[in-house]
């Protein structure tokens, strides 16, 4: 029977030859990811349910990456880091990346890729909805809550319903003014925030396979914004080169059968698409940047798992080089590695860091920061009636801090162009 890539990964993890969409199966989990917000309550549930002296099913498969509330004076946030540290020590977890040490990495979804935990064909669950980011590596990644995560910690298994798959094909080539963020915001405008609930979103087409891994991760990252269980992109030479440079673990590559059954298919002529934003207060509230150009903004924010990777900053630098920003502009690298790359990578002979500093941007330390608001002293947090253009993934009311602020989700090109003018601006005005 023909199967999609997601079905095949489910079948492997459930020790079956074939699984049917709609069927519930128990999956063997390859990696469980958690962080500082959901780790401590997950560990509490684990101890409560399996006993105070219970051991996790496989310490090498548990990855703990604190990233949410790191650079804050909030004492409760500090206590959560202490709880992670204690659990990691008690359980001898080799993959704990402690805050304040040279092991600290930053935003978990980007760090997972950097550290070689994203391996084609595997099953990853994480206590963060953007765990779907890892689907860019031809694997299954999906978010879960603390109770489910505690169940995995004790058993290495979780029940999941096999999803129907939706396919999104981007034909032709990517114009230089478009980014993966524009592609996924286009999809969201078409299918809305519950258009893929309980389904797999499979991305395909020449334009998708022309993208570097960073950009593929941006596409898969926002599958959850359509309610998707996972986003997924088949493995190609670019994926394999990235994976092999970071891990020597063997892996299995799955591809969708040509006659696999899809819930629905969407086709886009990529060069006909325009830069878009998602207007307040929903990621599916799509408008072309041109149609809202001139809207005054008070802040530009370039960061997060979806918009704070090296490629995002390379794109922003293209526009910010030799310019001055007109509004407060936060540059928040996702990870320590990306932060260091700001100094080592250059655009037209200048380091990215130099370009951003000269433009008048504020460069922050790597963490989730104001993408989800965070404690009151979080860098970049929106206040009052801020109007923010942001490369992050959500703009629900209050998401970046203030309930009265409006957030426009945009590509790094659009966020940079708008930073320069102080108004929403189509990046083609600068390219």
């Amino acid at each position: 029977m023909a199967q999609t890539i997601t079905q095949k990964i489910f079948a492997r993890a459930a020790n079956r030859k074939f699984v049917d969409p709609g069927q519930s199966v128990w999956l063997n989990v390859d990696v469980l990811l958690t962080h500082d917000v959901c780790g401590p309550p997950t560990f509490d549930i684990f101890k409560q349910e399996f006993g105070p002296d219970a051991k996790v099913w496989d310490p090498s498969k548990v990855v703990v990456l604190p990233d949410h509330y790191i650079f804050t004076a909030n004492e409760h946030a500090h206590r959560n880091i202490d709880l992670l540290r204690q659990f990691a020590a008690d359980q001898n977890l080799p993959n704990y990346y402690d805050v304040g040490t040279e092991r600290y990495r930053g935003v978990c979804h980007v760090a997972l890729a950097e550290e070689g935990f994203n391996i084609p064909g595997t099953v990853l669950f994480g206590t963060d909805s953007h765990t779907c980011t890892s689907g860019a590596f031809g694997m299954f990644g999906s978010g879960i809550g603390n109770t489910d995560a505690a169940f995995i910690l004790g058993t290495g298994k979780l029940w999941e319903k096999v999803p129907d798959s939706m396919k999104f094909i981007f034909e032709g080539q990517m114009p230089e003014y478009l980014t993966a963020k524009d592609l996924i915001l286009h999809i969201l405008g078409d299918i809305t925030t519950d258009g893929a609930t309980y389904r797999a979103m499979e991305f395909d087409g020449e334009a998708v396979f022309s993208l570097p891994m960073d950009e593929r991760m941006t596409l898969c990252n926002m599958a959850i914004e359509a309610g998707g269980m996972n986003g997924i992109i088949a493995v190609d030479a670019i994926t394999e080169a990235f994976v092999k440079a970071r891990t020597s673990k063997p892996y299995e590559i799955f591809t969708s059968d040509p006659d696999a059954r899809y819930h629905s298919m969407y086709r886009y002529q990529t060069d006909k698409l325009e830069p878009v934003v998602a207007m307040p207060h929903s990621p599916d509230n799509r408008a072309t940047v041109r149609s809202v150009a001139g809207t005054p903004i008070t802040k530009s924010y370039i960061g997060s798992c979806t918009g704070g990777k090296l490629t995002d900053f390379m794109l922003a630098a293209k526009i910010l080089k030799g310019k001055k920003v007109a509004v407060k502009t936060n540059i928040v690298p996702a990870t320590v590695l990306v932060a260091s790359q700001l100094s080592t990578e250059s655009y037209e002979g200048q380091s990215l860091r130099h370009i951003f500093e000269e433009a008048g941007c504020d460069i922050a330390l790597p963490s989730c920061a104001a993408c989800l608001g965070g404690p009151s002293d979080t860098v970049g947090r929106s206040v009052d009636n801020d109007v923010v253009v942001s490369t992050t993934n959500r703009n629900f009311p209050g998401r970046m801090g203030s309930k009265f602020a409006g957030v426009y989700l945009a590509s790094p090109l659009t966020a940079a162009a708008s930073a320069v003018t102080g108004k929403l601006t189509d990046p083609r005005d600068f390219l």
Partner: protein, 190 residues
Amino acid sequence: METIIQGKAYVLGKNIDTDQIIPAEHLVYSLSDPEEVKLYGKYALSGVPIDQAGLPTGQIPFVEEGDFASPYTIIVAGPNFGCGSSREHAPFALKVAGAKAIIAESYARIFYRNCVDGGFVIPFETTEPLNKTVMTGDELAIDMENNTLTNLTQNVVTQLRPLGDVVTIVQAGGIFEYARKNNLMASNEA
């Protein structure tokens, strides 16, 4: 478990995301310390813009200023309730505030799983846009055996969708209780 859930309705719109259910700045409190847990009740649904809070009129907070629990026990909402983040703090906060059930047209997957597997609140689905007809403060009764909702204030009975596959987990009170009953707690190697 109870077969009838009765209480006052609290009505919301569509796409109520987890940042509205419990804003991210409050995720730092302990979920096990009894004193800190109360704060989740205090801030439950505090992110909902006030004009959308307690429909059809709005301007009705779920939890009154200074309180730690809500007078409303059944939440009625439109499609895609609980979209956004994976935070289990969301259904937890609703439970701490006193909510027992939600009736929505649909749910986001992670929130739905968290409700069921954590045994916090029971997520019922309706095919009718009940949040357009039920008013905040109406007295409701859910009959779990017959999957019906009775609006005692308006004297209307509506059919709810059966819970389906997950009914056994809901009846057990969560995934751990379910797994123990069904001998599913063995380790990966077993």
